[in-house]
Every structure is written in C-alpha cells, then in structure tokens.
Symmetry: C2
Subunit: 155 residues, 2 copies
C-alpha cells in the first residue's frame, strides 16, 4: 500500500506537485493580466488561494527532488501528517476559490449576458484562469487522497 | 478504530445525518422563498445540490434508524464503500454550490453595493440560505472523513 502513485519522494509525486504548481501559476498569470480583475473580491481571492497553492506545491516539489536525488524516504508518519493537513487545506481553499469565481463568470456570461454586451470585459481570460484553477484543484485533490491513504497505512 | 463518532448505525451517525438533512432543507426553504432567486444559475444549482444532500442524508438517516432499532451492523466494506463515494460526491457538490453562491453574494454586497442600492433584493435571505448550505457541507465533510477512515480500517 505504501507504493502508491503520487507518494512523496517519487517521480509521480514530483510530477503531481509540478502540475499543481504550474496550473496554479498559470491561473494567477492569466488572471493578473486580465483587465479589471481587482474589482471582483472573488478573483482576488482566487489569486491569493492559487498563490498559496504555488508556494505549498513548489515547496513539496523541492522536497521530492531532494528525496529523489539523495534517495531519502519521506514516508514517516509525522511528515505525512503535515502533508495531509497542508494538502487538505490547500485543496479546499482552491475549490472554494475556483467555485466562487466560476459562480461570477456564470452570472456574467449566462444570467446577465454582460460578456456579450460589455465587450471590454475579458470574460474568456477569466474563464481560462478559472479552468486552470480547477485543474490545479483536481491534482491537489488526488495528492491529498494519496497522502491520507499513506497516513492511515502508516499508523 | 471502528467505534468512531458518526459511524453508520450509531446515534451520533444518525444525529450527523439529521443535521445535514435539516440544514440542507433549511437552505432550500430560505432560498425558494427569496424573491428572484431563479434568475441566478448559482442559486438554482444551490437548490439542486441541497436537494441531493437532503435525499442522500435522509436515506442514510432511515438506514441508521433501521440499524439502531434492529441492532444491525452496517459496517461491511461494500456498504461503507458506497457511503464513502456518495458522501464525497455530495460533500464536493455542496461546497461547490455554497462557494459559487457565496461568490455572487460577495459581488453584490461588497463589490457592487447592490444590496444597499437595490432594496428589493433579498440579500439577507440569500446570505442565510448560503450559511445553512455551508453548515450542511461541514457536517457532510465530517461524515465523509469518518466513512473513509472506517473503510480503510475495514480493508
């Protein structure tokens, strides 16, 4: 059970962390280059949440690289408990940010038709950023489940 | 490990299910009595998601009552796997619905100040409904963690 795909200190774990970090960074990049994002609290929250995701997953990716190059085992219960808590917090915050932003883009494009009527609104950039945030959340959710599984197996 | 609080077929499990069901029903009740909710996709999705939560948790509450009165044990791996999948799906859908609705109410009350300017908007009712949805999600998240824990312990 300890040889799960995505476990810390493995190549698949590193790929998962780099994926989370990359998509979160892409979500931030697309959002901050969109005109008028700062007038929406939800979009600012998306950037903050994705920023936390970038920091967390980049830190763990560095730890994975260290474990892979030095052939260290990262699967001790205290370290894994820390990963579980961090992963759950970042996954829940990412989902909350992506969903609250998605709620607004659906309101603007479907309910109020502002995206068609007000051409200056960069709706497609907002949508792209939110899509990246959802992908980052999905990868983060996979990580957090794998970590929880490893923690229970190691108790 | 199998004597966890909130496990299926226990009084605490029944209380958790009734809490989820009650708060989800309250969220639906408050939302459907709010003027103009149907023009927001996110609020309609909140009602659909809370409807699913009511059906799921009421079904499991009935199963808990049956197990308590007939003194049956519900903790076999197949049944618990079903509970885990159902709980995770309803918990994620509830969080997504609550967050997307919260994104809109924050936009209306903080960013656009519509709640102060447009007095006909029942913002406080929308907020109450969303708060109930968040409570229902929190209870559902507790349930899904307990179920996942029990499943892993029973494998």
């Amino acid at each position: 059970m300890k040889k799960l795909i995505g476990r810390p200190g493995s190549v698949s774990g590193l790929a998962l962390r780099l994926g989370q970090c990359g998509f979160a960074a892409a979500a931030i990049g697309v959002m901050v280059t969109s005109l008028g994002f700062s007038s929406f609290t939800a979009y600012c929250y998306l950037i903050a949440s994705m920023g936390l995701q970038v920091l967390w997953s980049f830190g763990l990716a560095c730890l994975d690289v260290y474990a892979l190059t030095r052939k260290r085992d990262l699967q001790n219960p205290i370290l894994v408990s820390l990963f579980v808590v961090g992963d759950w917090v970042t996954a829940i915050l990412s989902l909350a940010a992506a969903c609250s932003s998605a709620g607004i883009i659906v309101l603007y494009s479907r309910d109020l038709h502002y995206c068609n009527d007000q051409v200056h609104l960069p709706c497609s950039k907002y949508q792209t950023s939110i899509a990246f945030a959802f992908i980052s959340w999905a990868l983060s959710a996979i990580s957090s489940h794998v970590m929880f599984w490893i923690l229970l197996a190691s108790i």
